[in-house]
Amino acid sequence: MHPLIIIAGTDQQAWLDPDRLPVLVASLVAIGVVIFATYYRRGKPFQLREIPGLEAVEEAIGRATEMARPLIFTPGWGGDIQRPTTIASLNILAQVAEKTSQYDCRLVFPTHDPVIMTVAQEVVRESYAKTGNADRYRSEDISYVSSSQFGYAAAVDGMISRLQPASVFLLGTFEAESLILAETGNSVGAIQIAGTDSTIQLSFFIVACDYTLIGEELFAASGYLSKDESILASVRAQDILKLVIVAFLLVASVWATIATLSGQGPGNSWWSF
């Protein structure tokens, strides 16, 4: 029988690893805040600030419809279906697909991951069915291109050059292919909305795309677009947690400063996990 918890530093195995205790506490606090935010304000509308990239989503779809050109949406090469960013991206895809189905605008979704392809087909098909346009759905437009990073980049580049999309959505986890796609999209004159959790690629998107959702904005975006209460509540929870984090940072910094000033060195570092 394993003990429930053991003293740190011993080699014994336990149900609860003491090194992980801070993460467990933080997880439970965070989960508590999310649940609180979801149920406490249920039914009351949320006031959220604007995110410029999201205002442009409608415009991008409208433009593609007007110009009778397709819209390309791709989740990048860096993520797999287990990644929360991919879920957030597919969430936005569902919103975009609902609109393209209504306007009868062609939606092309190339991906490097067959599992993402499978899920995306399902997401788009359902969105089309929901608006009563199931007949407009084309499963071959949601396609697996290549798992190789630059095979994928070459394929999507080819698609962009040949299909001349009016709008390109680059939302998900991107690596080096980000700028290849963004510059090619720019060269065909597409309006481009990008968003990623890959911090490096953000800088390329900022320089090359019309709108960029920075990190957390990508997660908030699906809530904005769908006005889905549970997602908006999550956004609210994230904000509450940010306040907690800022308070933590201020208190801990002041603590460390006082400890240093009083000549005790930085003191016991309770803030380091």
Binding site: G78, S148, F150, E175, A176, S187, T199
Partner: protein, 269 residues
Amino acid sequence: MKNFQSRHLVFLGLFVLIAVVMLIGGGSEVKVSPQTQKMYDFLDSLPRGSVVMVSFDHEASSLPEIRPIAEALLRHAYSRDQKLVGVALMAEGTLIGYRLMESTAREYDKNYGEDFVFLGFKPQYVAAILSMAESIEATFPEDYFGTPVGQLPLMEGVDNYQDVAAVMSIADGSFTTHWIEYGRIRHNLTVIAGVTAAMVTTYDPYLASGQLETMIGGLRGAAEYEQLIGVPGGGGRGMPAQTASHIYVLLMIVAGNVAWWMSRRKRDA
């Protein structure tokens, strides 16, 4: 020629510039950064015979930048008689990783099986990293050539991360993060890295928090390291073209602003 736009001019200029600089050739001396020095000191201070795991966590496409970095680090490790265990977390790093380890080993008369081994590729990096913490042999029952790991002299007594001094992640993407998240945090494995210049800022926070022991980045990092170990290589050779290309990009930023400013003035007038 109706398709010829200003961007084509930008492309052509870069192509011609790099070609000319490379045809002229030459090398240049660089100043060694503290991080590169720290990497050198770290590898230098490991006792002879320490086992260093080298993980090729990159795609084949970044070989041009990865090669000089990996070669400089491998040369240093071999010259310090460290035992190297190569693995690849990305399929495309497999053949390349083996080629790099093997060609540098030859320079130092190192033998396969005794001084270095190459275990090959394991898909699903998270699983691979976690499972090697339990048992390397269970994760890689055979090496790249199908020899049972138990038959490799080097692997005797190398069961899991407790027998490994450090893992050196050669990466062109975020894979070093996985070594940090699953190797370092969960199993206290020391992680060092040789990464492409693009990835350097990604790893800064990990360096600052100490989760990543040390790293060298990019062609420049390779050039610095080559200088420290006193073996010239691709890093130093590429530096002139590198410098020229930086100046070119700077010029493009300036030119873009001038063009924009002039068009604005014309519009206002």
